[in-house]
């Protein structure tokens, strides 16, 4: 009732501040990285990039590793492609140093116009995955040895289709003791059959995107409807009221080791469904060598905090209440001295599970019926 009676009206606020430096970087162990240096702007001044140029080009950034000066980097531009594969000109500050696990990285940026900003982050150690086991309910839903399956149900050529439901992936990890660890778990499938002469086709399934299809691959393997609620660690940041009011862990596969510190733990991942399809005249058994790929990303605390902030802002009760003034305003998380930007670090380990035995058994049983 309270909210039904409320309304919003425009208000003029002339409270402006001087911009500050904003520094963003994601540092991955054993990979080159670059730094995005921009500035903050007054909200009502307009849109970044299209109306306001927020890139800071006059700065230099000093890199310190384990308290030792390493290099100074300046603004550069280089050709790149965006997320959609379009050619773009990337801008930023490219670092030559290749960080290693355990490195304490300190970045100090200095701009004549916007002053100084600094941030420090330690590259976490990758934590190996002990083991992964998969399974679920599967049945041969279509088998047309004389035809190829089309999406409209018609067939031509040869085709085999396996339906999966309640597919589980149990990931066993051991959290290193005496250190605070933060993780993100990424899951995907790999049906590239690279070892068998295939191309690189794979699909991340944790984003529920089952639309990716390859016109040239003879095999596809999808898992869909990832159940984020199936693993309690993914919702450790939810309080009871958030659960009740409908906030959920959707999109959250990050967690801390607070509940599993120094212990072995099995993560439970669940998918509602999936499909494995061979669309080829060649019905070779090698096509069963599709894989589930599990990647455990060790995160710096700043990376974890940023993810948590994003969730709270978009889905958390605090974000909802602060939007309407019932709770303190939720401002952005930052580990940069100016309060703008996030410098984070990651290290990855991965584990691949070949589903050959699982799928072959289902298909063989189905074909023999």
């Amino acid at each position: 009732m309270v909210l039904l009676t409320g309304c919003y009206t425009e208000i003029d606020i002339n409270q402006k501040q001087n911009p500050v430096l904003c520094m963003n970087a994601v540092i991955v162990a054993d990979e080159n990285f670059d730094i995005k240096l921009t500035r903050s702007w007054n909200y009502t001044d307009g849109y970044a990039h299209s109306q306001i140029d927020i890139n800071v080009k006059d700065a230099e950034i000093k890199l310190y590793v384990n308290d030792q000066y390493v290099e100074t980097v300046g603004y550069t531009e280089w050709p790149d492609t965006d997320a959609y594969g379009n050619d773009i000109t990337a801008v930023g500050y490219e670092v030559e140093y290749i960080p290693r696990e355990g490195d304490k990285i300190k970045l100090v940026a200095n701009s004549k116009q916007y002053g100084e900003a600094s941030a420090e982050v330690t590259v976490p150690y990758a934590v190996p995955i002990d083991s992964v086991s998969c399974g679920g309910t599967a049945s041969l839903s279509f088998y047309a040895p004389q035809g190829e399956l089309y999406s409209d149900g018609t067939t031509e050529g040869y085709a085999t289709s396996v339906s999966l439901s309640n597919f589980y992936i149990n990931v066993h990890i051991t959290d290193p003791a005496n250190i605070n660890n933060y993780y993100r778990l990424d899951c995907g499938t790999d049906y590239s059959l690279m070892e068998y002469g295939g191309n690189s086709y794979n699909d991340d399934v944790d984003d529920d995107d089952d639309s990716y299809e390859s016109s040239s691959s003879p095999v596809s393997f999808y898992l869909w409807n990832f159940d984020y609620e199936s693993e309690p660690l993914f919702s450790e940041h939810l309080n009871a009221l958030e659960s009740i009011f409908g906030s959920d862990a959707y999109g959250c596969t990050f967690f801390s080791d607070r509940q599993i510190s120094g212990k072995s733990y099995q993560l439970h991942l669940r998918y509602d469904g999936g499909s494995f399809i061979i669309s080829s005249y060649d019905q070779s058994d090698r096509y069963f060598h599709v894989k589930v790929v599990v990647e455990l990303v060790s995160l710096s605390q700043s990376n974890y905090n940023w993810l948590l902030y994003q969730w709270q802002k978009d889905d958390g009760l605090l974000g909802e209440m602060s939007d309407i003034g019932f709770a303190e305003t939720l401002t952005g998380y930052s580990n940069v001295s100016t309060g703008a930007g996030v410098v984070s670090a990651q290290a990855r380990s991965s584990y691949r599970v070949d589903l050959y035995d699982f799928l072959k058994k289902v298909v063989d049983e189905g074909r023999n019926k």
Binding site: E10, K16, Q17, P232, G325, E328, G332
Partner: protein
């Protein structure tokens, strides 16, 4: 000159020696004093000088043989109320000043309503001969020390006919119980309030008010729900918080720093409906004591204010009651005698009636759905029940049993049941929060000078939330049934066992002492959450948080003395001692209280006061409204008790016994305050709850000015407050001091009640204040993940509470029409539809970044009818 002085001194001593040397012989038994004086005058050649009234009723007995004058005089007056002084040849006689205890008697008793026999709290009893006066306590008891002999006691209470009692030649203690009737001459004037105006000049306290249930009912309120907190929000120095809600931020304090007591028992959950209404049903209230500045020694445990609600006992003579139907709730109350003259009962029930609307609407909506469609259910209700049975064992002994139950429940969910029985889904959410209080109270008049009250009580505060989701499917292909169930349960409880004794002691006419002690055993369950996910497909996964249950023992003792030094000076001094043992640690608090008043005459008063208070229990809340997630938690770990020092000055002017002007200044320091750290949400809720907290300090200062009128057809007050309040925490706002959220610099309140005829009342409330402080991000920055290209526009932290919302003002109107059997009440909240801002958000209009203010309540009319029987 020196010589002259020497001669005079020698002459004086020579004369004295002469007088003393004149020995006297006299014998008298119970003879009139004047006859004896005549005899002495003959023998000693001295004069006796006195006023005729001095010897009134005085007889003397003496036996002296050849003794000096001074020895004879000493014997003569030793058992009389007369003192003497020899000056030359004259003996000056005076009545002894009425301070000697042996020359006093104590008059005590109860003052009650003549019809219902309910105790009248705050009635004034005055001895018209000596001018001594006192006020009845909450049980209607008074004790007054007056001189022996004749006196006339005058009993007065606002809205009642005064009564007097003549005592003639009274030489022993006496009990005088008085019944006061509602004044005929006052029936046509406003019978509200108490003697706050007179008290402001007479008492030593600063910033204290006594509110009657009529005053509360006469305050216009949102949805027409009269509310103690909404009435107090009109007092100077009290910030209301978020518009429409029953928040109370007194002199820069926090919402959890107010102690609400129901018949001496502290309550934790004091509101309903997310804070829109307070949990106190005004129909059950007799009166309310509110202290915001100087605190009597009895009160401790909170930093900012004390709200002591006293409930009605019920009539000892006849049955009365009322039924009210309002926009949001209905209420029923009844009281009367169980055994006439000795035992009474009082029962009041208040409940929302939304279900009467929501249940049929939802049933209708669900009935139109297909079998396979999702069917929803929803319920919200608040209930409070007050029940009390009182019994008078004798004129000296009374007891009562009181029960209070207050609860909010919110429930909702949906069900889907496939007609082919292939799919079933059910989700159900339930939240419940409130208090239960059960208490037994016995008070006893030990002697005319000592009144004792003993209380034993059990209270439970509970807040629970549960969520269940169940999903099942019958797989035709395999013939199996798969299901998943998710259960979340969370609760926060406090169980208190309370034992306390409070005493009023009148050792002398000039001292009124209150003392007492109490013990409370607390059991805290700050937060316990359990989540269980089970499925037909895999093993049950259970997670629990690590919250501990805490046992705490709290001991309190206090003493305070209200000392009438003389007709100009009056002082109150006291001490409250407390011990709080928890988690293997014991915290202690020594809280002195002092105030002093000076009155040049009975129209003006000037006061100064100091109060120190401690708080061992605090409420953690993530929002400015009341939610079931708000946790009451004790001091644990490295945290120290919150404490406050408050200094105050006051000046008071009573004009023609009709108007009063109060000017009060205060300065308050608060230490060991507890709040969430910045970005506390980054710390998972499953961790120890205190890992998200930080400690700090705060200051508040200001001036409250109030002009009030409490008698006549036209009553009300106009007040202005000038206030500052700030906070400093190590882990908030980068350690920098920032203004408190409800640091409303200027606040003006106008509350008017006009009884325009026998049947019509008009009530007007207007409030205007500087806007609340708000954390506004004027700058934004761009997050960019250089790997994924993901970008996000993010608010820059520019400091906590860095922006003041626009000036807030609102007019509320209330109209009451009395009928033969009851009254109609029509309220208009925000009568001129002011769009007050409660927050500001960033948004876009036609692709232009703009700020918008959120307005909560437009004009809100409400109507209720109360049938009285």
């Amino acid at each position: 000159m020196k010589r002259l002085i020497t001669i005079l001194i020698i002459t004086y001593f020579a004369l004295l020696a002469t007088l003393s040397a004149q020995n006297i012989t006299i014998n008298a038994v119970n003879r009139d004093a004047q006859e004896v004086f005549a005899e002495i005058m003959k023998q000693s050649n001295v004069n006796f000088i006195y006023e005729s009234s001095v010897l009134k009723g005085v007889t003397v007995t003496i036996s002296a043989k050849d003794q000096p004058l001074d020895s004879v005089l000493e014997k003569l007056f030793q058992s009389t109320p007369i003192t003497y002084e020899i000056k030359g040849r004259n003996v000056l006689l005076k009545r002894q000043k009425s301070t000697a205890p042996s020359k006093k008697i104590t008059v005590s008793g109860f003052v009650r309503d003549a019809v219902t026999k309910e105790a009248l709290s705050g009635a004034v009893v005055r001895d018209m001969e000596s001018g001594t006066a006192t006020a009845t306590n909450v049980y209607g008891f008074y004790s007054l020390n007056i001189p022996k002999g004749d006196s006339r006691l005058l009993f007065t209470y606002m809205g009642y006919n005064s009564q007097s009692e003549q005592l003639t030649g009274q030489t022993t203690d006496k009990t005088v119980n008085m019944l006061l009737a509602i004044g005929n001459e006052l029936k046509e004037v406003v019978i509200v309030g108490s003697k706050n105006n007179a008290l402001s000049v007479e008492s030593t306290s600063i910033g204290s008010y006594n509110l009657s249930s009529e005053t509360i009912k006469n305050t216009p309120a949102i949805f027409g729900e009269s509310d103690i907190v909404k009435t107090l929000q009109f007092e100077p120095g009290v910030s209301a918080g978020i518009e429409g809600f029953a928040g109370m931020y007194v002199h820069g304090g926090n919402h959890d720093e107010n102690l609400y007591m129901l018949d001496n028992i502290p309550l934790y959950q004091v509101n309903h409906f997310g804070g829109l209404f307070s949990a106190f049903n005004t129909d059950t209230m007799r009166n309310v004591d509110f202290y915001k500045t100087s605190f009597p020694a009895k009160y401790d445990g909170r930093l900012s204010s004390y709200v002591d609600v006293h409930t009605k006992d019920g009539s000892l003579e006849s049955h009365h009651g009322s039924v009210k139907l309002g926009l949001t709730s209905g209420a029923f109350n009844i009281n009367g005698p169980i055994k006439k003259g000795t035992t009474s009962y009082s029962l009041a029930v208040r409940r929302t009636w939304y279900e009467l609307l929501t249940a049929p609407i939802l049933a209708l909506a669900n009935s139109g759905l297909e079998d396979d469609d999702e069917k929803t259910h929803f319920q919200y209700a608040f209930t409070d029940i007050n029940a009390k049975v009182s019994h008078h064992f004798s004129n000296r002994s009374q007891a009562s049993v009181m029960l209070y139950y207050g609860n909010d429940i919110l429930r909702g969910g949906s069900k889907t049941n496939n007609s082919n029985a292939t799919y079933y889904s059910d989700d159900d959410t339930k939240m419940s929060w409130g208090n239960i209080v059960a208490s037994v109270d016995w008070n006893y008049v030990f002697s005319p000078k000592i009144f004792g009250d003993f209380t034993a009580a059990y209270t439970r505060y509970k807040s629970s939330m549960s969520y269940m989701w169940y999903d099942a499917e019958n797989l035709a292909s395999t013939g199996t049934r798969t299901w998943t169930r998710d259960d979340v349960q969370s609760r926060n409880n406090i169980d208190d066992w309370i034992f306390r004794g409070d005493f009023d002691w009148r050792p002398t006419a000039s001292h009124k002492v209150n003392f007492g002690a109490g013990y409370t055993h607390h059991t805290f369950l700050p937060s316990r959450t359990k989540r269980e996910i089970s499925s037909s497909q895999y093993a049950t996964i259970t997670t629990r948080d690590s919250a501990n249950r805490y046992q705490a023992n709290e001991l309190n003792a206090y003493i305070g003395d209200d000392w009438h030094i003389n007709s100009h000076w009056r002082a109150y001094y006291g001490l409250h001692l407390s011990l709080f043992g928890i988690d293997g640690m014991t915290h202690g608090g020594i809280a002195p209280r002092a105030s002093v008043r000076y009155t040049p005459d009975n129209r003006f008063a000037f006061k100064a006061a100091f109060s120190r208070t401690y708080q061992y229990i605090h409420q953690l809340t993530q929002s400015y409204i009341s939610l079931p997630t708000d946790q009451w938690v004790p001091i644990t770990g490295d945290f120290k008790p919150q404490s406050s020092n408050k200094y105050a000055l006051g000046a008071y002017w009573l004009i023609d016994n009709k108007y009063a002007i109060d000017v009060e200044c205060y300065y308050k320091t608060m230490d060991n305050l507890i709040d969430y750290v910045d970005e506390y949400y980054l710390i998972p809720a499953q961790l120890r709850w205190d890992s998200r907290l930080t400690t700090g300090k705060g200051t508040a200062k200001g001036v409250d000015v109030k002009l009030s009128k409490e008698v006549g057809r036209f009553t009300g007050h106009l007040s202005y407050s000038l206030m500052w309040a700030d906070r400093t925490y190590a882990e908030r706002n980068k350690g920098k001091t920032y203004p408190a959220r409800f640091d409303n610099r200027h606040k003006i309140n106008l509350l008017l009640n006009w009884r325009c005829s026998d049947t019509w009342d008009i009530n007007v409330g207007w409030t205007g204040q500087s806007g609340n402080m708000f954390t506004l991000s004027t700058q934004v920055w761009e997050y960019e993940n250089p790997i994924t290209g993901e970008t996000d526009q993010v608010k820059l932290n520019s400091g906590i509470n860095n922006y003041r919302l626009p000036f807030y003002h609102r007019l509320d109107l209330g109209f009451t029409k009395r009928t033969k059997h009851g009254y109609w009440n029509f309220n208009i909240y925000n009568a001129y539809r002011q769009k007050n801002a409660i927050s500001v958000r960033q948004t876009y209009r036609k692709d232009r970044p703009i700020y918008q203010k959120l307005t909560l309540f437009p004009i809100l009319p409400s109507l209720s009818y109360t049938w009285i029987f």
